[in-house]
């Protein structure tokens, strides 16, 4: 197979952007994706089989057969878990990755999110750290992501937003009924509500039309192509350059290294299960936090006996995502208007500045719910089955508002990804083993946030509220997974440098959520995209034709 300049592993949020940036600059690129290129016709808005409700499996991968993981619970017992089960902490495996079916909230982190340790100090037992880069370094690339991928919204009503050079390219969607109910209540509480920024067309943009406001949003592929992911923006642009080749159903086995300790390409199983080698000058790993760590750990060789970039046992540590908490509010009038995407209003007043808490998180109303989502979200004391349950479904499905949000997770070095010594996937590769948990302070923050959500709902007129704040026995990572290949200046305490290049190997990059030092109190995708633009920019500046300027 012809040698290329760069191999990119994973065609998700970051991989797609890197592919487009490198191929536009004239580099030859092979983009490897283990899943297929799905369309909306592959799921058809199935309430039971999508990427959010997976009782009959994941619509956009991975499949339950042949893709297990191992979860070590708090008592040390190992469980083999399937991709459609919650403790798998799945993200989609397909062209577009999570961006094909996400809810598409498009948050910038706040400047404090990059300086968590110096702002708050690290709680004992945590691995809370500052980023080696600051918000100002990323701001131009946030802007680039917002304009190239396409974001609608308006954060002018709140002072609690990051400084931006210009307003978003599209106005927000018109408010839905929940917005109209929650907005005045938030203002009465002294908060600053505003429409949620979304990677979603509210008006025609980038050659595609606006959102049709249907009931099936998060977890589903968009049938009007109004949801902006890498599969309908940067990946087609990369392919159009003629420099990028996308190979789907291609599972990378390992990164190949030479005798001098530099990467020479990857070996992967193609769509027919045959082992292939693709040689390249650069390898970019963009497989999402759990799988990127797994690939580095699986890339063992004489020079790297513990896996690539893992000299100081840092790869796979500090796994994080988001611990979601919030509250249900039950109203004596209809709150449901059947207008998607449902999630419409947020406050960021609580992300920082609460005495005694290391950060906080945004609070927003939940995405539009399907009947299947209401089953266990009924007022406390509702019978679990029988006529009482059926009547409660009827009484409350249209009269509920959920306010919740991602709590800033306080990472620990013990919450981590390793390789399972026994369990293998369908290609015979050792699978990811998830163990440890977030720092308990995460749950304390979450409980405060849940109480705040309940207070907002009460102010909006809820007759009754119920808190949603558990203490899971696992790092809640899932689609927000991050942190496993931490970015830092110290090679002993991090995996990649500030430009996402491995400390150990100068032609291997990890560009995805893995490099997040912490994950903010926000959905992380826009930050992942900004980092992809930022790292691509740095890579191209140091590229001199066939190798790097030193």
């Amino acid at each position: 197979m012809k040698r290329v300049h760069a191999v990119i592993v994973g065609a998700g949020a970051a991989g797609g952007i890197v592919a487009k940036q490198l191929s536009s600059a004239g580099l030859t690129v092979v983009l490897l994706e283990r899943g297929p290129w799905y369309t909306a016709a592959d799921c058809r808005k199935d309430d039971l089989r999508n990427q959010r409700t997976t009782v009959l499996g994941n619509a956009f991968g991975p499949e339950d057969e042949g893709n297990p993981r191992v979860w070590i619970d708090a008592r040390g017992a190992a469980h083999i878990v399937l991709p459609s089960e919650g403790s798998y902490q799945n993200n989609a495996a397909c062209v577009g990755g999570g961006t094909l079916s996400y809810g598409a909230m498009a948050w910038r982190f706040l400047p404090q999110d990059f300086r968590m340790r110096s702002t708050y100090g690290a709680p004992e037992g945590s691995s809370l750290e500052d980023w080696p880069i600051g918000y100002d370094d990323l701001e131009p690339f946030y802007d680039q992501a917002e304009y190239e991928i396409g974001v609608s919204g308006d954060d002018s009503p709140t002072p609690f937003h990051s400084p931006r050079r210009r307003s978003l390219p599209m106005p927000p969607l018109p408010p839905n009924r929940e917005f109209a109910i929650l907005e005045p209540a938030a203002k009465r509480l002294g908060l600053h509500p505003f429409p949620i920024p979304m990677l979603r067309n509210s008006v025609p943009y980038n050659g595609r039309g606006p959102c049709m406001r249907c009931r099936w949003c998060v977890g589903f592929a968009c049938e009007v192509d109004a949801k902006n992911g890498s599969q309908n923006t940067v990946i087609p642009a990369a392919l159009a350059t003629g420099n990028c080749e996308l190979r789907t159903r291609s599972m990378v086995k390992e990164i190949l290294t030479d005798n001098r300790g530099r990467a020479r390409g990857v070996s992967y199983f193609d769509a027919n299960g045959r082992l292939q080698e693709q040689l390249s000058d650069i390898v970019v790993v963009s497989a999402c936090a759990i799988e990127s760590a797994r690939l580095l750990l699986n890339s063992k060789s004489r020079l790297f006996p513990n896996g690539l970039g893992n000299r100081y046992d840092q790869v796979g540590r500090n796994l994080q995502g988001h611990h979601y908490t919030g509250a249900l509010g039950f109203f004596d009038f209809d709150t449901y208007d059947d207008i998607g995407p449902g999630a419409s209003i947020a406050v960021t007043d609580y992300n920082h500045g609460t005495p005694g808490l290391c950060g906080g998180g945004l609070l927003a109303n939940e995405f539009i719910r399907l009947p299947i989502h209401t089953l266990d979200r009924l007022p406390p004391g509702t019978p679990r089955w029988g006529p009482g349950h059926k009547q409660a479904m009827r009484a409350w499905h249209r009269r509920t508002i959920i306010v919740m949000g991602p709590t800033q997770q306080i990472p620990t070095a013990e919450g981590r990804v390793t390789l399972d010594p026994w369990v293998k996937d369908r290609w015979g590769l050792p699978v990811a083993r998830l163990q440890g948990n977030s720092h308990p302070h995460t749950f304390e923050i979450g409980e405060v946030q849940a109480a705040r959500a309940a207070a907002w709902l009460k102010e909006a007129g809820a007759m009754q509220t119920a808190l949603m704040a558990g203490r899971p026995e696992i790092v809640s990572s899932g689609q927000h997974q991050a942190g496993t290949c931490r970015m830092g200046d110290d090679p002993r305490a991090s995996v990649v440098n500030r430009y996402c290049r491995l400390h150990d190997v100068d032609n291997v990059f990890v560009i995805d959520g893995s490099v997040h030092v912490n994950n903010g109190g926000f959905n992380p995708v826009l930050t992942i995209m900004a980092i992809a633009y930022f790292a691509s920019d740095a890579l191209l500046r140091s590229w001199k034709g066939t190798s790097f300027r030193s």
């Binding site: 369309t39 016709a41 058809r44 199935d46 609608s152 106005p171 018109p174 109209a180 039309g209 049709m212």
Partner: protein, 362 residues
């Protein structure tokens, strides 16, 4: 060598005999007792049961369904291999051929449908330069144009861009109808025999025929017209009176209104979905409250003879309503027949005599 050939020949002969026996047996099996044999395959039981309760109960399965050897062999392979989907259903190619099966008996309905716009083919819909340069083709197009087509729009038309030239790449589909009979009718359903309506019915609450149902592409099944939603619409801030005729709920599935667009006046005022938005054609003005079927025929959507149903030849103004300046007589008119109001022409107020006549219901 000779012996080997002889064995091979014997095997071949045995295969031919067995195959022939199997096929004739299968024919018999399918055809016996109005398809009772078909129910022996548990996959088919619900369908055969359904048709026995329907208007087509006197038909045999084979009167409408494909009986070719290839189909039978495929059915056997799927059944024995247990490779069927959760619920068996017609393939998209079967739905297309079903239209000619309907035609065999319903010749007049077929002819009127074929003469109207709802018989548009995949080529006409998906390679239309005006549409494709203004709006991008996407999977949601298939919800109304090609609901039975079983795949993604990217496997139907190429290229999916604004420059073209476009062509239908799915073999055999270019000249097939995007909205075949099974778009608005279902066959395997409970219900009584129907009589053909002698004439258009304009009164509200007309009976909804059991055969009327909309094929939902998402669920791959029909939903009865009687259960489909009718919209609550607004004209600006004012609620619109929508005729309760449930037959038109089928029309609304595709001729649907939209939520107010970003930047619109309606969005700024939190008004509900607006009459006339999207592909909605709910009548306003003088025709507010009428059903689609008050004017349009079901099968070819023709409304050419409809005015006479209600109007005297001369209107209250003394003008022939069919010759008034509306889109009825002139497609380029500013006055869309769906939304025309008295005040569109009577800009200084409706004359008193006319108003009195309207009020007294003459």
């Amino acid at each position: 060598m000779k012996a080997l050939l002889r064995v091979a020949a014997l095997c071949l002969a045995a295969a031919v005999v067995l195959g022939a026996a199997g096929v004739s047996g299968a024919s018999l099996y399918y055809d016996s007792q109005h398809g009772a044999g078909c129910t022996s395959c548990h996959e088919m039981a619900a369908y055969v049961g359904g048709v026995h309760d329907s208007a087509h109960r006197s038909q045999n399965c084979l009167d409408c369904h494909d009986t070719s050897l290839a189909t039978k062999l495929r059915h056997i392979a799927v059944h024995l291999g247990r490779t069927g989907p959760e619920a068996i259903r017609l393939r998209d190619v079967d739905v297309v051929s079903m239209t000619s099966a309907c035609q065999k008996c319903h010749q007049q309905e077929y002819a009127t449908w074929h003469a109207g716009p709802h018989s548009a083919t995949y080529r006409q819909i998906f390679t239309d330069a005006k549409q494709n340069t203004q709006r991008r083709l996407m999977d949601d197009c298939l919800r109304c144009h090609g609901m039975h087509y079983d795949g993604s729009v990217r496997d139907l038309v190429q290229p999916l861009n604004a420059t073209g030239p476009w062509r239908v790449v799915r073999a055999g589909f270019a000249d097939q109808p995007t909205m075949p009979c099974l778009t608005c009718h279902w066959i395997h359903r409970e219900g009584s025999l129907e009589t053909k309506p002698a004439e258009r019915i304009s009164v509200a609450g007309s009976p909804v025929h059991d055969s009327l149902a909309f094929f939902d592409r998402r669920e791959r099944m029909h939903f009865a017209a009687a259960e489909l939603p009718l919209p609550q619409l607004f004209d600006g801030a004012t609620p619109v009176k929508v005729c309760p005729d449930r037959r038109q709920a089928i029309c609304y599935q595709c001729h649907a209104p939209r939520q107010p667009d970003t930047g619109s006046v309606a969005a700024a005022h939190h008004w509900g979905p607006q009459a006339g938005s999207g592909d909605d054609r709910t009548p306003l003005g003088v025709h507010e409250g009428l059903s689609c079927f008050s004017c349009h025929q079901g099968h070819n959507e023709n409304a050419r003879a409809s005015c006479k149903t209600c109007h005297p030849k001369m209107s209250h103004c003394g003008i022939d309503v069919e010759k008034m300046d509306t889109s009825y007589s002139n497609p380029a008119s500013r006055h869309n027949i769906h939304w025309v109001r008295c005040t569109d022409c009577h800009t200084h107020g409706v004359p008193r005599a006319g108003r009195a006549a309207i009020a007294s219901g003459e």
